[in-house]
């Protein structure tokens, strides 16, 4: 049976909002695994205590995984990665190669922001303790199929993001700070104003991208409702919902319906459109088309 997960929250939500959201997942019957931890910006880490949320989720029977930072440059980033890898009795999801040294042979998961595009990377990392891989969201279905098959032969489970804005790029520069005439060191946490990212429009007025600190995301939302059946058939074991300010429990319910075959994709899409009214959906990457398209 395919399992639904909640991926790491890319955004800098106010502490209370983040905590309420995470604790709410404890009661969600559709979610099996929850990824906690800051993956975008080490400056945000001191604001949020993962430990108590983790305990509550584990008591409720959820699998909790701690995701590491995706862009590791300065001392604070490096410390954050070392700290995360030192948390006892918790699975770690690696989003940058900086984490491997601290893991020192401990089993780990490959995050969607670590470049794992092919069988050979998977084989190499499985040999070093990888137990699970979340594939990059730009990977086409044909390649996903090969990866899922290879993963199965290696005893590794496979995850694909099926909902939420796609992470398209990382940088060392904070674009939120830049949008406000600041730099990263004096950002004053302006990213907190945008729970789903700050929308960027082209000079024609077309919605195009969304910025979130050092991260650039798609303006459209990945929605692989039409591909869930194929993902299941090729051996993908986990489907990731990336957190947004929408009713994520409702969205999880729709994907649970798709997984069980209870909901057809067109019915699911109608329900998702009602649950995420401002979201325009895309699945182009899966079909080797421009990522913003829905095919």
């Amino acid at each position: 049976m395919i399992e639904l997960t909640i991926g790491p929250n890319f955004f800098h939500w106010p502490d209370a909002q983040k905590r309420d959201f995470d604790l709410g997942l404890a009661a969600d019957p559709h979610i099996g695994t929850v990824y906690l931890g800051e993956v975008v910006c080490s400056k945000r880490i001191p604001f949020f205590d993962v430990t108590s949320v983790r305990t509550a989720l584990e008591r409720a029977g959820k699998k909790v995984v701690l995701s590491t930072l995706s862009e590791v440059t300065v001392a604070a980033d490096r410390r954050a990665v070392r700290d995360a890898c030192g948390v006892p009795d918790c699975e770690i999801e690696v989003n940058d190669a900086a984490a491997f040294e601290s893991l020192a042979g401990r089993p780990f998961r490959i995050g969607q922001l670590l470049n794992c595009y092919n069988e050979e990377v998977l084989r190499f990392l499985a040999g070093r303790g990888a137990t699970h891989v979340c594939l990059p969201s730009e990977m086409p279905l044909a390649a996903v199929e090969v990866m899922a098959r290879t993963a199965e032969s290696l005893g590794v489970t496979t995850e694909v993001q099926v909902f939420g804005r796609a992470s398209l790029a990382l940088s060392a520069r904070c674009y939120h700070a830049r949008a406000h005439g600041r730099v990263k060191d004096n950002c004053q946490f302006v990213c907190e104003r945008d729970p789903d990212g700050l929308d960027l429009r082209t000079v024609d007025g077309d919605d195009f991208l969304a910025i979130n600190g050092i991260q650039t995301l798609s303006w459209r939302y990945l929605n692989l409702s039409r591909e869930v059946g194929r993902l299941r058939d090729v051996g993908v074991t986990h489907l990731r919902l990336s957190p947004h300010s929408f009713d994520m429990a409702g969205i999880a319910g729709v994907f649970a319906g798709l997984c069980s075959g209870r909901l057809a994709a067109d019915v699911a899409d109608e329900q998702l459109a009602a649950l995420a009214p401002s979201a325009v959906f895309a699945n182009g990457f899966a079909h080797r088309q421009p990522g913003y398209l829905r095919v």
């Binding site: 940058d96 990377v121 990059p136 790029a169 520069r173 082209t202 000079v203 990457f285």
Partner: protein, 336 residues
């Protein structure tokens, strides 16, 4: 100043056999090139080398005391690994001085199958910390790491102290704003993946349109990347150098970075003192004349620094994008 400066290797772009000869003639210590397919990050029509040209290029470089490095620095998608495997086999067979790799699978294949083939870690791997660099060196037999263009010179100095491999840094040319190897912007707009296909902003998806006000709009796929007034010259549409609007910036602004080129000429002595052992010039897509001029200028600058002089690279401004240059991340943290 304490220890004497170590003479750095000048690593120069060779998009074509003609550019290779020009770079060697202008004083390159090493040239880097790619094959005519998706295995390298400058997979543009009309660029790159056939295996026969690569052999001839290697002979030419060696005859003139220069090294040849082969970039195999993209990320093979599952099911297509064979093409990258062939590129690595060819590199070993021809006897290039090093292969520049980014993908852990490609590096692992090379390390296992061709242990004698020297490996450099491409900027596309985005190894920006001592921990990541040590991982690639210990686990994948990497001997040199090309740093992402996101570190200050002070950070580079601390980093070189924490690793025991060679460190290469970019000093001139195009400056992408996104962490190399971690950008799907082009794929989102065009369906061509920078990581898997080796192309950023493919020319086939580029359009320039006359705007109603007499200006010009540049597009990548369906998306307008920038617009230019009558007097402005229209730049090539690269997503991270476009102008956009948002809630807080109703007038179009460079949301990521302005179109300008990296030029570290003024900081070269500091960079060399920080322990950088190879200096890289970007631009395999550039003309032979460009390569000639930039390489000669940097050759003279490095020689002058090693002789205790001050480099004069004022003439290079004419070769920068839009005649605008920057020291990027290297000078100050305030760039971030």
């Amino acid at each position: 100043m304490t220890a004497p400066l170590q003479r750095p290797e000048l690593v120069c772009p060779a998009g074509t056999p003609a550019a290779l000869r020009a770079a060697v003639e202008a004083g390159a210590d090493a040239v880097y090139c790619g094959l005519q397919n998706a295995t390298n990050a400058r997979n543009f029509p009309g660029l790159n080398f056939t295996p026969t040209e690569l052999r001839a290029g290697l002979e030419h470089a060696h005859r003139h005391g220069a090294k040849l490095l082969l970039a195999v620095n993209t990320f093979p998608p599952a099911g297509s690994f064979g093409l990258w495997q062939e590129a690595i086999d060819l590199a070993a067979d021809i006897g290039v001085d090093a292969a520049i790799v980014a993908d852990m699978g490609v590096a692992a294949y090379a390390a296992q199958r061709h242990p004698g083939l020297r490996l450099h870690l491409s900027v596309q791997a985005g190894a920006s910390s001592p921990e990541a660099i040590r991982f690639y060196c210990a686990g994948l037999n990497v001997r040199r790491v090309v740093l992402p263009r996101i570190l200050t010179i002070a950070e580079i100095r601390r980093l070189t102290e924490g690793v025991d491999c060679e460190i290469e840094a970019f000093v001139f040319g195009n400056i992408g704003m996104m962490a190399e190897g971690r950008c799907s912007l082009t794929n989102y707009a065009t369906g061509i993946s920078t990581n898997m296909d080796g192309v950023c902003s493919p020319a086939a998806a580029v359009q320039f349109e006359k705007a109603e006000d007499g200006g010009m709009v540049s597009r990548l796929g369906e998306f307008a990347i920038d617009c230019f007034g009558g007097e402005e010259s229209a730049g090539y549409p690269t997503i991270c150098k476009g102008r956009y609007t948002n809630r807080d910036n109703p007038e179009p602004y460079y949301a990521f970075e302005e179109p300008r080129s990296l030029n570290l000429s003024a900081l070269l002595p500091d960079l060399i003192a920080a322990g950088v052992t190879a200096l890289k010039i970007e631009g395999r897509q550039r003309s032979r004349a460009y390569v000639s001029e930039v390489v000669a200028a940097y050759r003279a600058a490095v020689d002058s620094i090693m002789a205790g002089g001050k480099p004069d690279l004022a003439g290079l401004i004419g070769l920068t994008e839009g005649h605008k240059q920057t020291t990027g991340a290297y000078e100050t943290k305030r760039w971030r």
